[in-house]
């Protein structure tokens, strides 16, 4: 069964059609990539799925239920969690405080007005678990705006994981990263997918990376789906080659 399904979803900004009749599916357990040139509508797609902007027309289903009318926080509660192209973190808090906010939200106690010793212990343990998983333990008490760019992006992923996502959406997870940082992020994505069974949908510009790890690729161009399928099929698709990969090589 598909975890995420979009049916004829469009988004217009004034007269500009950013996404035009998109249909798309992500299966449970899949590691799926979205590629396409700048302005093809990839981030708009993420914004629609995550509830950042509403769809103009069309239906979005997640985990068997329509989510068009749900607010962004409600979608997160269903297990639909995203990161952003430009890292969104809590800049003046430490690494562990950043993650703690998410853990508390997952524990359903964001609105609890008094501290509770037992719960505090559980939350601390879960934060530590997430930091270990993402390799951030050694930096846990550093303020995140002092961290290297790559580490900041890992913090954002750790925060997303705190909500135990059914579908983790990563918007250009390796943007602006050096080779070493990129390798680390790829390793993390692989680990999450294979060891923890997290379904992942990610936008990426690095073609070697995409064709290296994705099980399924959807190609966007001018707000439309140009092609979708397994990496070999997509790479062989003449439309994709012409429009995006720069013609047959």
């Amino acid at each position: 069964m598909s975890l995420l399904r979009l049916e004829n979803v469009s988004r217009k900004f004034g007269s500009l059609v950013a996404l035009d009749q998109i249909s798309l599916e992500v299966a449970a357990g899949e590691l799926s990539a979205v590629i396409g040139p700048n302005g093809a509508g990839k981030t708009t797609l993420f914004n629609l799925i995550s509830g950042f902007v509403p769809a103009t027309t069309g239906e979005i289903w997640f985990d068997g239920q329509p989510i068009n009318r749900l607010s962004a926080p409600d979608r997160v509660a269903l297990g639909l969690v995203r990161t952003f192209q430009i890292t969104e973190i809590f800049p003046e808090l430490t690494v562990s405080e950043n993650v703690r906010i998410g853990v508390e939200a997952e524990a359903g106690c964001s609105g609890s007005p008094w501290p509770n010793r037992r719960r505090t212990g559980e939350i601390r343990a879960r934060v530590q678990e997430l930091l270990d998983q993402t390799g951030l333990s050694s930096q846990s008490s550093r303020t995140v705006n002092e961290l290297a760019h790559g580490d900041q992006r890992v913090v954002e992923v750790a925060m997303a994981l705190s909500r135990r996502p059914k579908l983790l959406m990563l918007d250009e997870p390796t943007a602006g990263m050096g080779e070493e940082e990129t390798d680390r992020m790829v390793e993390l994505i692989r680990h999450l997918h294979t060891r923890q069974g997290v379904s992942i949908l990610f936008i990426e510009h690095d073609m070697d990376l995409v064709f290296g790890i994705a099980q399924r690729i959807t190609v966007f161009n001018y707000g439309k789906v140009l092609a979708a399928g397994a990496p070999v099929d997509v790479a062989a698709n003449p439309l994709v080659q012409a429009a995006y990969l720069g013609g047959p090589q």
């Binding site: 995550s50 906010i101 964001s110």
Partner: protein, 317 residues
């Protein structure tokens, strides 16, 4: 742990100083009622700081709940009760209830819009209080009540300056404890998350407006408490307690002491009220200019407040 030890020592020193005010303040030229006023303004600014410094919402209408607390306490003493305790409770609840209801109107706005709507609400209440002569005493303010002696069994304590200071300190301690517990709770963490990055908070599943509302209600509740005490301090409530200039005073007290520190507004209130008191006796005609210059100097040279500077220096050393 070093930082924690320092915090504990600082907190103990603050409470020791506050408990002994009537003993040492007159020695340095102050008077006890002045200390009561400082505590009252500090409490209101600390409450505002939950919104301003911790949730990152620029409220410019804190005086509304301060003033309502005052009217609530005064009217309770006139019409309902002879208990000073109950008057405080009534004023606090009025401020809190008003903030709870009006918070629903403001919780979705941000930035300048938030500041302007909070100002607008304060102004509506100000004009209402100023015009509704039969209830509020109109422009002349609310009079005809005075703080009643406290009864403990057979013991009756008249609330002259010094006992009243301890009465204020008692409520100040409760208000401060509520705020401190709140800030160390998950809700307090949520407030800070909203200040740091609203978008990230929302996409971690946090319903931002709901918690802005909560922050607003708490700030209003404690402002109501502070306003009640202010009414009892003066045995008088003025519509000017609701006016936007008064809201500005609370903001400057919070900024002056340091918006990012819990005790900052207390330091800000000591300086602001002390300074105002001194200048208005030395320069009765031009104290506004001096206060204005103080505002400008703080903004230009001490933007992170007195405690902000102290903390930065401590970090370097």
């Amino acid at each position: 742990m070093k930082g924690r030890a320092r915090t504990i020592v600082a907190t103990l020193v603050i409470w020791a100083l506050l408990l002994t005010v009537p003993a040492w303040l007159p020695e340095i030229g102050g008077y006890t009622a002045l200390a009561s006023r400082i505590l009252i303004y500090a409490l209101c600014a600390m409450a505002l700081n939950i919104l301003l410094g911790y949730t990152g919402m620029m409220s410019f209408g804190q005086a509304a709940y301060f003033g309502l607390g005052g009217y609530g306490a005064g009217l309770a003493l006139i019409h309902l009760t002879h208990s000073t305790w109950l008057a405080v409770v009534a004023g606090t609840l009025l401020g809190g209830l008003a903030a709870l209801l009006l918070g629903a109107l403001v919780m979705r706005s941000r930035g300048i819009y938030f500041a302007m709507i909070t100002v607008a609400i304060g102004q509506i209440l100000y004009f209402a209080a100023e015009r509704w002569d039969s209830i509020t005493g109109g422009q002349d303010g609310l009079t005809g009540f005075s703080r009643q002696p406290l009864r403990f069994g057979h013991l009756t304590v008249p609330l002259s300056d010094v006992p009243f200071y301890y009465f204020v300190l008692f409520w100040f301690a409760i208000g401060v404890a509520v705020l401190a517990i709140l800030l160390s709770s998950p809700l307090g963490h949520t407030f800070v998350a909203i200040r740091e990055n609203r978008r990230r908070a929302a996409f971690l599943g946090i319903n931002v407006s709901r918690y802005v509302w909560a922050s607003f209600a708490v700030a209003g509740l404690v402002a109501g408490l502070s306003g009640s005490l202010n009414a009892l301090l003066n045995n008088f409530v003025s519509p000017a307690d609701l006016y936007w200039v008064q809201s500005g005073n609370f903001v400057i007290i919070a900024v002056l002491g340091g918006m990012r520190s819990f005790w900052g507004p207390l330091v800000g209130a000591i300086i602001f009220i002390g300074f105002q008191n001194y200048v208005s006796s030395v320069l009765p005609n031009n104290w506004e200019t001096v206060i204005g210059i103080l505002f400008i100097v703080i903004v230009l040279f001490f933007p992170s407040g007195i405690l902000g500077i102290a903390r930065r220096r401590a970090r370097i050393v």
